[in-house]
Point group: C2
Chain length 266, copies 2
């Protein structure tokens, strides 16, 4: 490949046939050399799951000038890992993931395979962006995102991101009103309250089907969930340090616990 153009690795968690992936690939190709490594099946809600058994493989399904496409039997994070640890001959300049069919704003980021892939690249010091649309429809309209995705991507390619930070970008679904703009946000506090129901499995047994409702528990007007509701694109600078730093001091009481480990030592 021509190494003078940026190398962009594209992945997703909705599988290689997803409309959102095809949209993202079409937008990236004018911006650089593109290698797609996508999952061979939908892998939504796989979070940061990786394959530790010796079963992982990737098949090259398409080669064109400046473009290669692989399909992988692993998770989105596997796709990123084998990308630059196995398939590619150089480290990509950028990893983009999506466009996800469904919002990854708020605590959805924790479950998201799309964002798992972006965070993995970020952990390895590579610029990364996860793009998601607030619409689960497999045939969702993505055309209203074109200009914004290209503008955000160019900005990251030009100026980079801080070390250890990737972007979680969510778009409102298409409506009659154009976006109001883009807002830099924090991750909203919210949760899913599940409602499992019994159903029949394919093998005839009883199993549980996941349903539920998303409960927004935040406020302040500076959250990604609120920005999306207000027809803004939300952008959350996202890292992988889960330390609740403001609680380190209060937790020092655990250092005063008295316990004996001498008697159990060999």
């Amino acid at each position: 490949m021509n190494t003078t153009r940026p190398l962009i690795l594209v992945t997703n968690d909705d599988g290689y046939q997803a409309k959102g992936l095809k949209k993202l690939v079409s937008l990236m190709r004018p911006l650089g050399e593109v290698v797609v490594i996508s999952t061979n099946q939908p892998m939504s809600a796989k979070g940061h799951s990786i394959t530790t058994t010796p079963t992982l493989s990737a098949t090259l399904v398409n080669v064109e000038p400046g473009f290669k496409e692989y399909v992988c039997n692993g998770t989105p994070v596997d796709c990123v890992k084998i990308g630059y640890q196995w398939l590619l001959d150089r480290i990509p300049d950028l990893v983009v993931s999506g466009v996800n069919h469904g919002s990854n704003a708020s605590t959805n980021v924790i479950y998201s395979g799309t964002m798992g892939a972006a965070i993995e690249a970020c952990m390895d010091g590579i610029n990364a962006i996860g793009f998601s649309l607030d619409c689960y429809d497999p045939d969702a309209d993505f055309d209203h995102l074109d200009d914004a995705i290209v503008a955000i991507t160019k900005e990251v390619l030009d100026k980079g991101l801080p070390d250890g930070v990737c972007l979680n970008v969510n778009f409102p679904k298409r409506s009659e009103t154009p976006f109001k703009g883009l807002k830099v946000c924090r991750q909203a506090k919210a949760k899913w309250v599940e409602a499992y129901s019994e159903c029949q499995s394919e093998t005839g047994g009883t199993c549980l089907k996941l349903g539920g409702a998303f409960i927004f528990e935040d406020s302040g007007g500076d959250t990604d969930y609120e920005a999306l509701q207000d027809n803004y694109i939300s952008l959350v600078p996202t890292h992988f340090d889960l330390t609740a730093k403001q609680y380190m001091e209060p937790m020092r009481r655990f250092e005063n616990l008295v316990f004996n480990n001498h008697e159990n030592q060999g």
Copy 2:
């Protein structure tokens, strides 16, 4: 069940037969009513993955006074979710996960099914602790943890944890020297550099086997990785807000990007 004693949900990611799970169950039973919901197979490195297909089920395999044990075909996070959304008749007072065979200090927390389960409970406002031993051996010695696990658990049962915070507790493996004590730490910055190798899959094809080395990239003496190396128990107050707050202001330059979405609107 007797509702005057605390209800403790125990899960793990090494499967229902793991020695670390059995140790944790034996330590929890004197402290409350215990319900175990463990995975039917090893689920290490499944992160926050959940099962969205209608395939999830749990089998009751053991009932004794004050004790029930289920085995579930899902991930550790599924075990927690179906616990209080389906199997239990009340919300547990505490969710404990582990004792994991292997460290979940540093960035291992991102991949960890053990910590995925604890974080899920935390997202739902339930006190939660993940316990891990810095030793991958399936037959590892866990007896030196007894007093410390009980002391930490009692402290959490007595005084609770701040809303939105769970504990990531890692223990040094057994050595001839007792622990020096417990340190409240931040998550160390580190990464895995993978080294995939080709191998034969069970079906005869070529596949990739995950190997690699853990690279510590931090310093300061206040990290969980360093505490473990120095024979301290590490305790990291852990939350689920991935916002890199210190980078919100610098990222506002993205709000100034010019892009057109009018022409693409219907």
